[in-house]
Amino acid sequence: MEQLSTRHISQQFNEEIETLRNRVMKMGGLVEQQIYRSVDALRNLDIKLAQKVINKDHKVNAMEVRIDEECAQMLALRQPTASDLRMVVAVIKTITDLERIGDEAEKIATMAELISEGGGKFHKRYAGIQHLGKQVAGMLHDVLDAFARLDVDTAIEVVRADDTADTEYQSLMRQLLTYMMEDPRTISESLDIMWAARALERIGDHAKNIGEYVIYLVKGKDVRHIDIEEIEKDILS
């Protein structure tokens, strides 16, 4: 009888953990959409879409608060151990990064608004930023998939992809600087684009962080601030 009742409790606990993970995924989906929309708004200088993104950011924040609360409650009531504990910890960290990504998306949308208010005369310069946007959005998508599937390989790939995103960001910066030196009239708009590019680069960093939490969650190893080669050696050995 006693055995039965403990199984029942852990079953319910399982469900709670599952629901928690599902909530994170839901939040991730929303954040992903925010990125796509903000980049689209920047490309098409679509003020309406940009405002939609800005207005939706509070939803991301509310989700973070709610999940945070649930995590605290779970820690208090269930006192999870081992992989369950790592799951709760990983969730708490992940949602912080997701919320920051949401803020960055909002920033991009604000830039889209600013640029289109300024006329948006140098539209062709956004090609590079489109590419960067696609890349970091893809990173976030992959890392959320890795979180759902507890897939370390994909998580490592995302951590590695961050370097490519950084390189891309730097070359974009250089390109924008060249434009600004050539023609000072483009400076104010180029600065706005720089801000957007910076936000995208930050999104890449946050996605990388989430990748590290996934590795921590599955392998139980903290791999922050460690070289990618070392991580691989550590994990795959």
Partner: protein, 430 residues
């Protein structure tokens, strides 16, 4: 079975009797009977033990024994064989079924009560980037994280299909609940169809615009010509003038229709005072009609959410149709009814009516019930198509009932959620 049992019992009694007789002879009958019974119990336990071993191992070879035990083994073996056969048959059916669903061109996913993936086919694997082994048991909304899709799943209302973008593709999704809280999800790629639709809309819009420009020039010159024309040319020019006007109104309707198709409803819907709108329409229509028909109005106070301009077009179209197809001095009634399901605005006439088999086709573009007759009455053939589009945008239905020879009723029914407020005292205003 029974005879076997009886045989076993008689064998036991016989051997006990023999033992008893020997016991009486050697003077220890009780001891010998006890030994006999103990031997029997030991043998029974031995057999029971063998049976449990055989059952847990599910071996093919039946242990050799005799008496009732042999019978038991035989029966159990029969049951086991039958089950194995049935299992093999079922497995074959399941694998055949899975093979055939695997080959379905539409992405198919089977979900359980918690929306966890139980099974999916190759098309689904490609469409949603699923991974065959690891994703079984995963919640689908962990992998497809589009907010619209998650809302659709959590609402658990699958009467309507869902269309959404996933990885740059337009996907149309149907979910069918079945069995014990299981869900069959079917999805197909409609990117191509969507593109074609956009192309068609663009074509109609562009063609109408392009045709209107030359037509305006023609109409202008004809008007100029008409002013100083010979008597001989007066009638032909008049005809040309009429027809250019007709073409122009047709093009205007086409443009209106394509605008309705491409634009979503304005984000902020306004509050429409329905009785006021109805009264205004009746006033306009009475002027247009010049007293040939008896136009009546019967309205309930209600406010509707929507576009006033578009609702105006709907009612004007329906009223013009009613007047056009009614004999003179016939009665045309504009009325509305409100109940808990929503609000219906009805236009009733006493005209020639429409045959029942034609009713479903009425809202097609350029469809005419009686081609010869209706062209004389004017009209572009697009009126009801426009009406239907506008009503669709307001989530309303167009219901048409008609009795040939007696008249028709065109009813626009708006769902309750489009209604803003119903006044507490609904008294009719005539």
């Amino acid at each position: 079975m029974k005879s076997q049992l009886r045989q076993d019992i008689s064998l036991l009694i016989f051997s006990l009797l023999v033992l008893l007789i020997i016991g009486v002879i050697i003077g220890k009958p009780f001891l010998l009977v006890c030994i006999g019974l103990t031997a029997y119990i030991v043998w029974t336990f031995y057999n029971l033990n063998r049976l449990t071993k055989w059952l847990t191992k599910q071996g093919k070879h039946v242990p050799e024994t005799y008496g009732i035990w042999d019978d038991i083994y035989y029966q159990l073996y029969q049951i086991y064989q039958r089950q194995r056969k049935a299992k093999r048959k079922l497995a074959a059916i399941v694998s055949r079924f899975q093979e055939s669903t695997q080959a379905l061109p539409y992405a198919t996913i089977v979900l359980n009560r918690q929306m966890e993936i139980e099974w999916f086919n190759n098309a689904a694997e490609n469409m949603f980037d699923l991974i065959r082994v690891t994703d079984i048991g995963q919640r689908l909304d962990n992998l497809i994280r589009i907010p619209g899709f998650i809302n659709y799943l959590t609402r658990r209302d699958f009467k309507e299909d869902l269309e959404f973008d996933y990885g740059g593709r337009n996907i149309r999704l149907t979910i069918t609940p079945y069995g014990n809280h299981q869900y069959l999800l079917g999805a197909h790629d409609i990117t191509q169809r969507r593109k074609l639709e956009v192309m068609r809309q663009d074509f109609t819009a562009n063609a109408s615009h392009e045709l209107r420009t030359p037509l305006t020039v023609v109409a202008g010159y004809i008007e100029a010509l008409q002013e100083n024309a010979d008597e001989k040319l007066k009638i032909p020019l008049q005809r040309i003038h009429e027809q250019t006007e007709r073409m122009e109104s047709m093009l205007n309707d086409l443009i209106a229709l394509s605008r309705l198709e491409t634009q979503a409803l304005p984000e902020k819907e306004e509050l429409i005072d329905v009785p006021a709108l109805m009264q205004q329409i009746v006033k306009d229509m009475t002027a247009f009609d010049r007293g040939q028909h008896n136009i009546e109005i019967n309205c309930q106070p209600v406010k509707l959410l929507g576009s006033r301009e578009e609702l105006h077009i709907v009612l004007v179209n329906l009223m013009t149709n009613a007047i056009r197809y009614s004999p003179s001095s016939g009665q045309v009634t504009l009325s509305n009814t409100v109940d808990e399901r929503g609000m219906c605005i009805a236009v009733e006439d006493q005209g020639m009516g429409i045959p029942a088999d034609q009713i479903p086709r009425l809202t097609e573009r350029f469809y005419r019930v009686d081609p010869g007759r209706s062209r004389d009455q004017g009209g572009t053939g697009l009126g009801l198509a426009i009406v239907k589009h506008i009503l669709d945008r307001h989530r309303a239905r167009l219901e048409i009932t008609s009795v040939p020879g007696k008249g028709s009723v065109f009813r626009c029914c708006f769902p309750a959620r489009q209604i803003a407020e119903v006044d507490a005292s609904p008294e009719s205003i005539n």
